[in-house]
Symmetry: C2
Subunit: 384 residues, 2 copies
């Protein structure tokens, strides 16, 4: 930890679980944890202003190195004052490294020990991303927390391929650690190893030997069952140091957040609230609501009583109308609602941990959600 | 005028022009005039929340009867509390009658003396709109000001066709006047007559004989030259009563607003600031700016100094990035900027009139706009 710029304090451990209540101090302010980071892929959380984002209760957000280096380019972001000034967000920002996008989004990616070479999904231009370059881009963007470049492979896969990619990810992490020069930027490593506990533990051990400011669990929520994910998560988190932030990348559903908090995870990011919001799906204490449903046509109630978000000043019938009429305000309002809801879940979790009643809180929330009468298949794959 | 619910007071007449400073009191608050009404076609000003709309400085907005009766239907709007509650806008609302949309948007419209019968542009269903029905829809929506149903014809056209449509519009206006039952709703007539001064004056005389709470000039800004428009406008406005609001429908560019204010117009609506904003065009004191232009790539200045809108907290380079990346926030921010700019023009006009320096104000603004180094063809046709 760059202790002049970052401190991480665990205030309280829940009596009934591994959940912990902590604060992460960064050069752009404090993040109360467990925390959910909205995804601001291209220098904006899609559809809402920085003020509206602040009003959701978010403390820290995520930006995407892959997207920003392709467009507008990190030098332009720097010329316009760095990522915080560029997007008008004064709070902390974490940037991912691009490893996942090389795997999921880039065209014709060829990866060797030196770097990944691929074609931009925007204009087909050839781009090279090495560990050193991933560090440099993130330093130029000026994020508070940078992620190391990792080598992500498709699952299911052979144990040999998964092990190779994990070992390369460790070597790349070490190169990233060596390359990092910016004092006011923390660097987090990413534990890989697929669904193999042994590989996960090997990876964790090697990363701990290098030493990072925080540790992420990557390569989950990519199609495995929740049970598989929690099996890996519980073994991995148990091996992580208690005095560093723990970040579960790309997860997830509200129930996933609380389950992972119970395993001792401190930080999350996911496109689920924003992307599903843009597609008329609202998260509430009564489960999900698909606002295009005819039953909401004349429903004059707000989505949720006592929700402070701008969507909940309107009726469900109005929100439905906006989506049926193809109006931008529908996606805007449900984005604000869903992000507000996710932040309220996390705020509730923080309070519950502090009061040693996190297990009851999680149970009560799960009961609420299970009692909902609508279902939906949720899409959490990262932004295109 | 329903004097229990509406009053119109002219405070001051400009010494150098026919411009006037007035206040229109409605059941939902006062409108300082001259005033520009943002267009909220389908129960939302596209892309911004009611709070953001208030922050632009708007006092009164416009809603579209044609669109709202097709979707979601006025009965549903009423079931959800009426148009004000539906869209969360507590200020005054004017609704147009649908006459222009029957002309411009409806499919296979057949118009006879009784009504217009057409097919919905959304689903092809057959809809009938008579003067009485146009009144009833607007009463059900609960707008503060309702417009009479008029018969709009294409220009250029034969004098006979234009005269026939004008005479039918007068008969329909009379039927609307008879049909109106809602005390808390004012009703404005619409002067038609194409580019023929004699027909315009005949229409005005007949409408005045019926007697309305305000008078609109319709059928302009449909392809004629600015000189033709102002020729018609000057003769028409001169025949309108001084003690009633005067509304120029569907106009227009910033220079058109000030020209028309100088002729004595009090109210405007136009999609120009919103539609062009969604397409990356900003209105400023330095003329228009097309934000996709490469020259803005590294421009760290705001669109305008001293503009209080949310777009002007960012750099031009960031706004360009949003449009190049296809991010919703670009249209959102430029909508807010352009509406704020239009409101600032009108606020400046009101101050200038009160100080008897409107002609200098208009001249100074026209010089600013003419000095801009970008040009653009602007689209003001009503919302589809």
């Amino acid at each position: 930890m760059n202790s002049a710029h970052f401190t991480f304090s665990v205030h309280h451990r829940d009596a009934g679980s591994a959940a912990r209540r902590s604060t992460f101090h960064t050069p752009h302010g404090a993040v109360e944890m467990p925390a959910f980071m909205p995804v601001g892929t291209q220098g904006t959380v899609k559809g809402i202003t920085a003020d509206q984002l602040t009003a959701t209760g978010a403390h820290m957000i995520l930006g995407n190195t892959y997207h920003l280096t392709l467009r507008p380019g990190e030098e332009i972001v720097a010329a316009l004052g760095g990522l915080h000034a560029f997007m008008g967000w004064q709070g902390p920002i974490l940037t991912d490294s691009g490893g996942f996008q090389i795997f999921s989004l880039a065209q014709r990616a060829r990866i060797n020990e030196q770097s990944a070479v691929f074609r931009s999904h925007i204009d087909g231009s050839v781009v090279e991303l090495s560990p050193e370059r991933a560090v440099k881009i993130q330093e130029t963007l000026g994020s508070d927390v940078a992620m190391v470049l990792d080598h992500v492979v498709a699952l299911p896969n052979t144990r040999e391929k998964i092990a190779e990619a994990m070992q390369r990810s460790v070597r790349w992490a070490e190169r990233c650690r060596t390359a990092a020069k910016r004092p006011a930027q923390a660097q987090f490593a990413i534990v890989q190893g697929g669904l193999d506990v042994e590989l996960r533990l090997q990876c964790t051990e090697k990363l701990l030997a290098i030493g990072f400011d925080g540790y992420a669990v990557g390569g989950l929520s990519v199609g495995e069952t929740p049970a598989e994910m929690y099996h890996i998560l519980s073994h991995t988190v148990a091996a992580l140091p208690a005095d560093k932030p723990r970040y579960l990348m790309g997860v997830g559903r509200p129930e996933d957040l609380l389950e992972a908090v119970g395993h001792g995870i401190d930080m999350f990011d996911c496109v689920m609230p924003t992307r599903n919001g843009r597609n008329a799906l609202a998260f509430t204490d009564q489960g999900v609501r698909r606002l295009r449903n005819l039953k909401y046509q004349r429903d004059d109630r707000p989505l949720e009583e006592n929700c402070p978000c701008p969507a909940c000043r309107h009726s469900r019938g109005y929100l439905r109308h906006l989506f049926m009429a193809g109006e931008m305000l529908g996606p805007i309002l449900l984005t604000a609602h869903n992000l507000t809801y996710y932040q309220r879940i996390m705020a509730g979790a923080r309070d519950a941990i502090a009061a040693d009643r996190f297990v009851e809180y999680r149970q009560a929330k799960n009961q609420c959600w299970a009692a909902g009468d609508e279902t939906a298949s949720l899409d959490s794959s990262p932004e295109q």
